[in-house]
């Protein structure tokens, strides 16, 4: 078992009180597994990704543990995390455009980065990895500004995985890209896993359709809690949680016309996490809600590897 997250709670400090962005989330990621993490904005998916690698100053680790390959990950301790970053847990950020040093050619930047971690560059291996994501060795002589958005994103993917981390966190890596670039980047990510350059991956996105193509398992979050987690094909074909169902029903597919069948969104908006309501947090928007939902539903394994937090399943 690669990654185990147990009852992780991370709050944001604000003047008006703590925002409970992660309010007790537990899950695991197996060796070689790609976990797709989806949800609306403000559901805690980016907070979860950040907690696994670097908490910023406003974030506070309130409780819960993270274990990677049997070792405790000190998520709340910024200094102690340095031993894990880049070597065992690495990140591909959303805006690769601003992730690279604009004043260095990419080859030099990679040499400097590796030197700072006490490693040296294996040129043949570097070329092989660039080819794996569909890049030519010439990009090493270029400045970041000379590459297109998709090329930059793929370059950052290669850089992030140079030390063969056990876990790669990819946060919204495709959302700023056009459809054809999106596909290339998604294939490149799967390639990194297939070649064993990373053991497993957490792929954070708001695009359910895209995740269903590259993830083995999809986890849907709602208002800081897990709503449903299941193998990708099961989650998209036989979802159990009403939130997942409504989310899937709101997705227009290429070729579906409004005149043929009108889709509908989900009424209302997620609750404020400053003082989240008691009970099921989807209750106010849920068509099935009744009195029982005033109590918070536990996460239950309804079928092998299929976890749902809902009283109605």
């Amino acid at each position: 078992m690669t990654l185990t997250v147990d009852d992780l709670r991370v709050h944001y400090r604000t003047l008006r009180g703590d925002v409970r962005a992660l309010d007790g989330v537990s899950f695991f990621v197996d060796d070689g597994e790609i976990l797709g993490l989806v949800g609306e904005s403000g559901c805690g998916k980016t907070t979860l990704g950040k907690s696994l690698i670097r908490m910023d100053g406003r974030m506070r680790h309130v409780g819960g543990t993270v274990t990677l390959d049997g070792d405790d990950v000190p998520v709340g301790d910024d200094r102690a995390m340095n031993a894990f970053r880049f070597r065992r847990i690495s990140l591909v950020p959303q805006y690769s455009m601003s992730a690279m040093n604009p004043t260095r050619r990419i080859g030099r930047m990679i040499r400097e980065l590796l030197a700072s971690r006490g490693a040296s560059v294996d040129t043949a291996e570097l070329h092989r990895r660039l080819a794996l994501v569909g890049l030519k060795p010439e990009v090493l002589d270029r400045y970041p500004i000379e590459l297109s958005g998709g090329m930059k994103q793929r370059t950052v993917m290669v850089i992030s995985t140079l030390l063969d981390p056990s876990l790669l966190v990819a946060d919204e890596v495709t959302s700023a890209l056009d459809v054809s670039n999106q596909k290339a980047v998604a294939h490149a990510l799967v390639g990194l896993r297939d070649q064993g350059l990373v053991t497993s991956m957490v792929f954070i996105t708001h695009d359910l359709a895209l995740t269903s193509h590259i993830a083995d398992t999809i986890m849907v979050m709602y208002a800081g809690l897990l709503a449903e987690k299941a193998p990708a094909n099961i989650l998209t074909s036989a979802p159990r949680h009403p939130y997942t169902r409504r989310l899937l029903a709101a997705l227009p597919e290429a070729g579906v016309r409004r005149s043929e069948g009108r889709l509908s969104g989900i009424e209302g908006s997620p609750p404020s996490l400053l003082s989240p309501p008691a009970g099921c947090r989807f209750r106010d928007r849920c068509p099935l809600a009744d009195d029982r939902c005033a109590e918070q539903p536990p996460v239950v394994e309804v079928a092998p590897r299929h976890h749902v937090a809902c009283w109605k399943v």
Binding site: E40, S41, V179, T236
Partner: protein, 295 residues
């Protein structure tokens, strides 16, 4: 109603404007009353430049752009008829003021003589027309509202102008969550019952087909394919359109690679064919197709 005839936009770039870039190249199509047209393209295709030209924010270099027979210009009277809504609803509101100030600005500019009570009634009607509850959204600051609510308030603001004929919607759903995106799209679709013409600019093929009768595919400033939506997507003829369609992730359908393009020139923009009518209401610019003037 809105007619584009070989509209071209060239930007001067480089030191002392020594070189130029053609962002939009001889684009022609029309948008009728009560019609939604999707303008589809990847980044850099010139789709937003085209939207800005229709709004009179960027001058046209060559060709003609007319609305109801009159040339496009900027100015108060023109904006009574044409309005634009843009990608980022959060930056369209001043965070210091309440969100409904955008309505007061419309009153100041266009309806200074309408009484306050009468105006409040109009605002509430417009807000209800975009499926929002006036009590919930009025008198609030922008940060108290969601992206979907703000975007719908901007549509409501455009609807306050009773002479409104045309709406340019540039990527209006790309910042919204999947759960509210469809509601904003449905709203745009409902506007056509008022006889409003809508140009829906997007890079998302799925959202584009859902809404529009007509689709225009733009690449490198030129139209590669256009026509009735069901023809463009049911029977895509240009290799670029096929390539785009194959790249769209769909639930439950395997990601297939587009058929190899072979000797196709879609990588080589200079050699593209002329736009010609391949079947009724379906125009393609591909030199490889029989019937193309450049074949």
């Amino acid at each position: 109603m809105l007619t584009l005839d070989r509209v071209t936009k060239t930007f001067r770039t480089g030191t002392f404007s020594g070189s130029s870039v053609t962002a939009v190249d001889r684009v022609s199509f029309t948008v009728g009353r009560g019609e939604v047209v999707t303008l589809l393209g990847e980044s850099g295709s010139g789709k937003s430049t085209l939207g800005r030209m229709i709004l009179g924010l960027t001058p046209v270099t060559a060709g003609s752009l007319t609305l109801g027979g009159e040339p496009v210009r900027s100015g108060r009277e023109y904006y009574r008829r044409v309005q634009g809504i843009f990608q980022d609803p959060f930056s369209c509101f001043n965070p210091v003021f309440k969100a409904d100030r955008v309505f007061a600005l419309v009153k100041e500019a266009y309806y200074p003589r309408v009484s306050a009570a009468d105006w409040r009634g109009r605002v509430e009607r417009a807000v209800r027309d975009v499926r929002l509850d006036p009590g919930q959204v009025l008198n609030k600051y922008p940060h108290q509202l969601s992206g979907g609510q703000l975007q719908r308030l901007l549509i409501a603001r455009a609807l306050l102008l009773d002479g409104l004929e045309f709406l340019v919607a540039d990527e209006i759903t790309s910042m919204l969550d999947a759960s509210t995106r469809v509601d904003v799209l449905n709203l745009l679709g409902d506007l056509r019952e008022r006889g409003l013409g809508v140009l829906y600019i997007t890079h998302d093929l799925a959202l584009g087909t859902y809404l529009a009768e007509q689709t225009v595919v733009l690449r490198g400033g030129r139209i590669t394919e256009r026509g009735a939506t069901e023809k463009v997507f049911g029977n895509p003829m240009h290799p670029y359109t096929r390539h785009l369609l194959a790249a769209v992730p769909r639930l439950g359908v395997d990601w297939v690679d587009a058929e190899p393009v072979g000797s196709c020139v879609f990588h080589d923009a200079g050699a593209e064919g002329e736009l010609h009518e391949a079947e009724p209401d379906h125009f393609v610019a591909c030199a490889q197709l029989p019937g193309c003037p450049g074949h």
